[in-house]
């Protein structure tokens, strides 16, 4: 029954686009309010916990902290050659985030006929949620 995620055709499915939340600042953060289109399709708590987790990932990636400064200065000292060998903190977090999204999709969202699209594929501008429909086979 369960298909690999990237084979699910989403072309003609209705979609919900969760917008960025700029109320606290310019960093990447999505609105944690449940969109009206998804009401009844998923529990409010499950949805909100997913969004909070995503927001925490982005906050960690963009945090201005000592390790981020050190990383930047170190790569500057190596004339940015270190970037060929070492993944940046941001990319590591994005990898963790995409495994988290896959896990959430297979555990929570696909059983409820929903599908989260990783925001990086939409330029971190919106979180796309596809409402999967039964397609005739």
């Amino acid at each position: 029954m369960q298909q690999p995620i990237d084979r699910i055709p989403t072309n003609y499915c209705p979609k919900v686009f969760v917008q960025r939340d700029f109320s606290d600042g310019m960093f990447v953060k999505f609105q944690s309010r449940l969109p009206p289109e998804l009401e009844g399709k998923i529990e409010r708590q499950a949805y909100e916990s997913t969004i909070t987790k995503l927001n925490n990932f982005y906050a960690d990636a963009e945090a201005l902290k000592g390790s981020a400064y050190c990383e930047n200065c170190f790569s500057c000292l190596t004339c940015y050659f270190s970037m060929f060998c070492i993944k940046t903190h941001y990319d590591k977090v994005l990898d963790k985030l995409s495994t988290y999204i896959e896990e959430q999709n297979s555990k929570v969202y696909i059983p409820r006929n929903l599908l989260l699209i990783n925001p990086i594929e939409r330029g971190l501008r919106t979180l796309e949620i596809v409402i999967l429909q039964d397609t005739p086979k």
């Binding site: 686009f17 201005l64 500057c76 004339c79 903190h89 941001y90 990086i120 939409r122 330029g123 796309e128």
Partner: protein
């Protein structure tokens, strides 16, 4: 770099030529007569300038992939419904720049007048240096101010965040204080590129075989990491157009 590859090559060759001349003539002399530290310092500065220049040239200025047709339609509907409730910040592209440090070339002559008598051309050099240093100092100062206030040149010139008619206008990009702004811009975390510059551009329309894959204005750019595709997709309008054309041809 985009369309200005020529400017980039010119900048690189200007830096390379002046540095080669410096190391071949001045540097050798200065190392012998004054201190070997001078060419070493020049070499370090040269490497720093080149690495920052190359990093700037090869990094993405912050291009966003275009919204899919569905997203644009959804946002329009949403905005109409909300009646511009959510406050959106102004769009911006972050200006990237390179600080080019200039090497001071002091001769350490014992007598200034003697030196001028020996080579009168040095007066001309001094005048040129005097005027050119001001443009460097001016630009460095201006950009330091921009960094400290976390603005772009465009925002500063337009006065986007200056107070107008007594209304407070706060720069939403500012981190709060001057030091935090400097840290955030100069040593902040590396943000990823949101477009996939190193993958092949595949028109998805042609992959799916829905049409001949010719690109038009109605194609939208997508950025699919899972399938490792950075390409264009035909919008739905085009597909309906194709259908209509097919129907017309069918009736003909």
């Amino acid at each position: 770099m985009a369309n200005n590859t020529g400017v980039f090559i010119l900048t690189c060759s200007l830096i390379l030529i002046t540095m080669t001349l410096f190391f071949a003539f001045d540097g050798r002399l200065l190392a012998q007569r004054v201190s070997p530290a001078i060419p070493v310092a020049a070499a370090i500065l040269f490497i720093f300038v080149m690495s920052t220049l190359l990093r700037t040239a090869f990094s993405d200025p912050g291009i966003l992939p275009r919204a899919t047709v569905e997203e644009a339609a959804y946002n329009e509907a949403y905005e109409e419904q909300q009646n511009h409730n959510g406050q959106r910040p102004p769009p911006r592209t972050r200006e990237v720049f390179v600080k080019v440090s200039k090497e001071k070339k002091d001769g350490e002559q014992s007598n200034f007048v003697d030196a001028i008598k020996k080579s009168p051309a040095s007066i001309i050099e001094a005048i040129i240096c005097f005027f050119s240093i001001w443009s460097i100092v001016g630009l460095a100062g201006f950009h330091t101010y921009l960094i400290a206030s976390n603005q772009t040149t465009n925002e500063d010139i337009k006065g986007s965040y200056s107070n107008r008619r007594g209304v407070d206008n706060v720069n939403p990009f500012s981190e709060g204080n001057v030091f935090k702004n400097c840290c955030a811009i100069l040593c902040g975390p590396f943000t990823p590129s949101l477009i996939r510059r190193r993958t092949y551009v595949v028109p998805e329309a042609s992959r799916h075989g829905s049409s001949n894959g010719a690109l038009t204005e109605n194609n939208i750019i997508t950025n699919n990491r899972q399938q490792n595709v950075y390409g264009t997709v035909e919008s739905i309008h085009i597909q309906t157009d194709v259908v209509i054309i097919c129907i017309i041809y069918f009736y003909l």
